[in-house]
């Protein structure tokens, strides 16, 4: 994923916060203030970026069983 996709400009955080709110609605959970949804969105985006960056480092990653497959095994 490109760095642009992780853009945390206010507009992007707002969009992610809306998606967080929508998912929580599906769980039947409401947080209240907009600022909390934005914090969840920020925390989630940092977490997912960190997980995505770590995935290639784990030896048990099943992609090590593959040759270089364009779009699948590329390492960032």
């Amino acid at each position: 994923m490109s760095d642009q996709a992780w853009d945390q400009s206010p507009g992007k955080v707002g969009w992610t916060a809306t998606s967080v709110r929508a998912t929580l609605v599906l769980w039947g959970v409401s947080l209240g203030e907009d600022a909390e949804y934005q914090e969840v969105a920020l925390r989630l985006s940092v977490l997912l970026r960190a997980v995505a960056a770590l995935m290639p480092a784990a030896a048990a990653d099943p992609r090590i069983l593959l040759p270089d497959v364009p779009g699948l095994t590329e390492r960032r």
Partner: protein
Amino acid sequence: MTAPGGEDVVYAGVADLAAAYRAGRLSPVEVAEAHLRRIEALNARLCVYVTPAPSRALEAARRAEGELRAGLDRGALQGIPYAVKDQVMTAGLRTTAGSPLLAEWIPATDATVVRRMDAAGAVLLGKLNMMEFALGRPRRYAYGTPRNPWNPAHETGGSSSGSGSAPAAGMATVTIGEDTGGSIRHPAAHCGVVGLRPTWGLVSRYGMIPAVWHMDTLGPLARTVEDAVHVMRTIAGHDPHDPMTSPDPVPDFPGLLAGGIGGVRVGLVRELLPGPGLTAEALQGVHQVADALRRLGATLREVSVPLAVHAGVIYTAFAEPAAAQVHLPGLRRAAGRYDPNVRVRLARGLVTPAAAAQWAYEVGRRTLVAQISEALSQCDVLLAPTTPGGAPRLEEVHQGRAVTEEDVRREFALQSYRMPFSFHGGPVLAVCCGFTADGLPLSVQFAAAPGRDGLVLRVGHAYQQVTDWHRRRPDLGGG
């Protein structure tokens, strides 16, 4: 009032108190009363206890005293004052888990650990302060902000906050805390006491409000390894109410302390020396411990756990969804009553994609466990700092401003020290190894393979025999 060793009874160890009771030099009632006076004097300042239990304590102390007079000897913990983290159920005594949601809850039954301590004749002084539902630092503690006995302007660590500060402040001889990702070792380190995360499955969790049920572990905190061992021999062992407990016989913990550590192979974890944010003082503390162990006959080598510094990310990705499952009914019913920091973490758990959580649990965690197992194939015990330095000031950790990306990354990084060993499932012992220039405790942890609790306890005990950090006391004035 002084114990036979010349120290105030509120700082006397289990063996000294037990000997004094049997010699008629002290009574369980007067020792319980001394502790209750101490709690009365200091609790408003330090917020150690959520619910002191003076009536229950005095009743138990009188029972212990009567039994000892009648020749009924239940062992070393008879008449010894103890306290438990408020995450652990106590019959007839409210159990809040540090949350206003449970402010009025009075369980009908005791947790297994409480039942076993009571059956040994120990005297329950009350319930100890903690971070809400053991889910990380709250924005505001519902029952008062715990303050570090060594300097009340600093935090205690957590989530077993009061379990660390009570023995340090002479407000209990021993305590029981709960460690999911480091919640026994963190307050033990910041408060300058010993904290053991036992092998997973050694101690029953029946009656304990879960944080992340497949990692939660109850264990002792105390001023000395020897005192912690007395608790372990009492609370460890199979419990039919907790099917995850091991059916194996309980080890002879006191016997395991003997014999020294000659020939023990100690591995220094390269990635944590230094790891994220480690201070020069903490690094020096670890090397001084290594030198002391070498003088005691241990051999040292460097080992590698490459994913240790990423343990916080891996943990968060699978643990928050696990915790959120437990709290979903509460969040649906009363999300607004959770602390905002806890609510936000649980919400992240609910929206973390399965791809991330599944990778973290099945791949990230397993890879890290494999790295620790590989390191432990080259040595017997791993040595690492418990925290990157002394306890931070309260205003540093309770920020009023909006969270930034850098804050989140720093939270992950600071989990590098205790979290990796929580994944592994083996015993980890935190021991005070000195003090900062500002007088705050520093700590190291010893980790070993599952089932080798006796080994980490023996190493910690040997270290305490040649150092005197555990004999230092905070200056709490006339309290």
